[in-house]
Amino acid sequence: MNLVRAELERLSARRFVQLMVVLLVLAFAVTAATTLAGSHKPNADEMSSARAQAAEARRDLEATHQECLARQSGTLPADTDRYFPSDCSEIDPIRQDRLPIPADYLPGVFNFAEQAQPLLYFLIAFLVLFGFLVGASYIGADLTSGGVVNLLLWRPRRLTVLAAKLGTLLGAVLVLALLASVVYLATFWVIGQAAGLPGRLDGDFWRSLGAVHGRGLVLVLLASALGFAIATLGRHTSAALGALAAYAVVWELGARLVLEIVDARKSDLFMLSSHIGAWLNGGARFYDEQLCRGSTDFPYCEGFYTVTWLPALLVLLAITGGLTAAAFAVFRRRDLI
């Protein structure tokens, strides 16, 4: 407990951590301020006009669908001017992900229900980066400056010392991420209420937002542990940064190209980014034209395959867990100079 308290003090005193927190607050303030400045509460005229436009757009969709069906069945002559898909169900309004709503026709009006998810994604992306960098620099700087050696002279139990550091890091990052996201969403909710539209904030909305939030926090923790583990293995903060850059260039770009050239099947499965996306969104669909090659149901083969959140999470956990375990194993025996 004492160790954790001391570590917490060290962590919060790190210049780099302070800088990242300032950046977070700054990015947050800028986003909120520009949103606030560019939004206003719609008056009755705007509202009714937007409602009318949305209703018309929905009618248009329906009409197009009906026309498509009519042409297919031959009730109407084929029209060369307009394009219709061969399968009219593709444009069936009932099968669309989302239909036009009045909010789409209110320029300059911030709609919380519509914007909350993308805003949250942005915050999570920042926090993932934050966690990775802070995790790496926290242990990296301590290893290079001899802070760890100092501590080990006091507490000659290496695994306890390293575990206290990792635990403190994860706890602090989690608290900060929770706090940041709650303040962040609350601020935009207030903007929606006061200078825009709250939108449809029903149970479905909160459930799906909550799910993204929870999965995002898990990702933030995984990134922090990963940065910590790689920096421990490489003895330097820069090891983690280098590994990240090398992975992005060599694997996500280079290997992806090679896999395409050699016609590997489902090459997206080899990419960490696919699993991150699949985990964060609760699943992801990828396209591979080869899936259709030699397929018997050819005209109907779409060439898509999905990754669900569970295998994606398992992949991320295995990689982070494996590297963390390796970091502890190496740290237990290594010469600390």
Binding site: V149, R155, P156, I337
Partner: protein, 332 residues
């Protein structure tokens, strides 16, 4: 007396891609008993820091047996860690913290009451500088802070690696007084150094290491006595004639500078009688006692390789503040 530190046959090899295999410590033995202020003397690169690191569990020894306060190290070191204060090579502190905050943090991590921080700052003479940032400290002040951190635990055993580095002469003297007062209070101290005069002044016991091996150990005066060659420095008006007279009296003598060095005489009066009988009056007659420096140079083999010819008369160091860097001599 009970052993506070025991090291037997310690061996440590470093492997690196660039310089290959390097044996840093090669079958080294060390015995420090309770209440000693034990000097651990050796030129730069002789393996002092590596030995202390291995003892404190920071590097893994290839082989050897070590105990600290009776517990095998590093396996059971955690049992006694609370009674061992140590610094190994100048520790780096977090520059943004004040000295006080640095120590408070360590005190917390080690479960020491925070009130102890002011006491140790006072002990090392940083009392009124404790609320300044460490990055503004001079090398000597950082060194004091390091010693303060080792003292926080109120240790029974204090291990200091080159604590006098960067200290000014007054600082070295204060450090010496501090160690003496600690020893008087029953603390066992192991101080490593390449600074000879310092060890001779502070320590009652010494172990000399050279190229990873122990070359001498014991009470400082005994180590010196073992190397007493019973030489005399003699100044007379006509050195050449004096040498002839002494040779005639079957004594070994050589001219060195403006003086004579006579060896193998246990009784100095013989020399003054032989010369006086021939009308050569002795102006100065000094027994050449070995100091730790010459013993050290002899043992570590630095003497022969020294690029600077040393004169007999220069052999004793100005007391206290002498800082001799033997690295060049040894590696040459």
């Amino acid at each position: 007396m009970s052993a506070v530190i025991e090291i037997e046959g310690l061996r440590k090899t470093f492997h690196s891609l660039r310089s290959g295999r390097r044996v840093a410590v090669d079958g080294f033995d060390l015995l420090v008993e309770a209440g000693q202020v034990h000097g651990f003397l050796g030129p730069n690169g002789s393996g002092k820091t590596t030995t202390l690191r291995a003892l404190l569990g920071l590097v893994r020894a290839d082989s050897g047996r070590m105990t600290v306060l009776g517990e095998p190290s590093p396996e059971l070191l955690p049992r006694v860690a609370g009674q061992v204060g140590a610094i190994v090579e100048s520790p780096q502190f977090f520059g943004n913290f004040t000295g006080y905050r640095t120590l408070r943090l360590l005190a917390r991590a080690g479960g020491v009451p925070v009130s102890r921080v002011d006491e140790v700052l006072d002990l090392v003479g940083l009392d009124d500088r404790g609320d300044e940032r460490v990055k503004g400290y001079s090398l000597g002040m950082k060194q004091r802070l390091a010693v303060a951190s080792a003292l926080l635990k109120d240790p029974r055993l204090l291990i200091l690696d080159e604590p006098a580095n960067g200290l000014d002469p007054a600082g070295i003297r204060e450090m010496r007084d501090l160690m003496r007062s600690l020893a008087a209070n029953g603390v066992t101290v192991l101080v490593s150094s390449h600074i000879l005069g310092e060890i001779q002044l502070i320590c009652d016991h010494v172990t000399i290491i050279s190229r990873g091996r122990r070359v001498a150990t014991g009470r400082v005066d005994e180590v010196l006595a073992g190397h007493d060659r019973h030489e005399l420095l003699v100044r007379v008006a006509e050195p050449e004639r004096a040498v002839e007279l002494l040779h005639a009296a079957e004594l070994t003598a050589v001219v060195d500078g403006g003086a004579l060095v006579v060896s193998g005489v246990s009784d100095p009066t013989v020399v003054s009688r032989v010369l006086g009988e021939q009308g050569l009056w002795v102006g100065e007659l000094t027994p050449l006692r070995p100091d730790l420096e010459s013993v050290f140079l002899e043992l570590t083999g630095a003497y022969e390789h020294s690029s600077v010819p040393r004169q007999v008369g220069d052999s004793s160091l100005p007391q206290g503040e002498a800082v001799i860097d033997l690295d060049r001599g040894v590696d040459a």
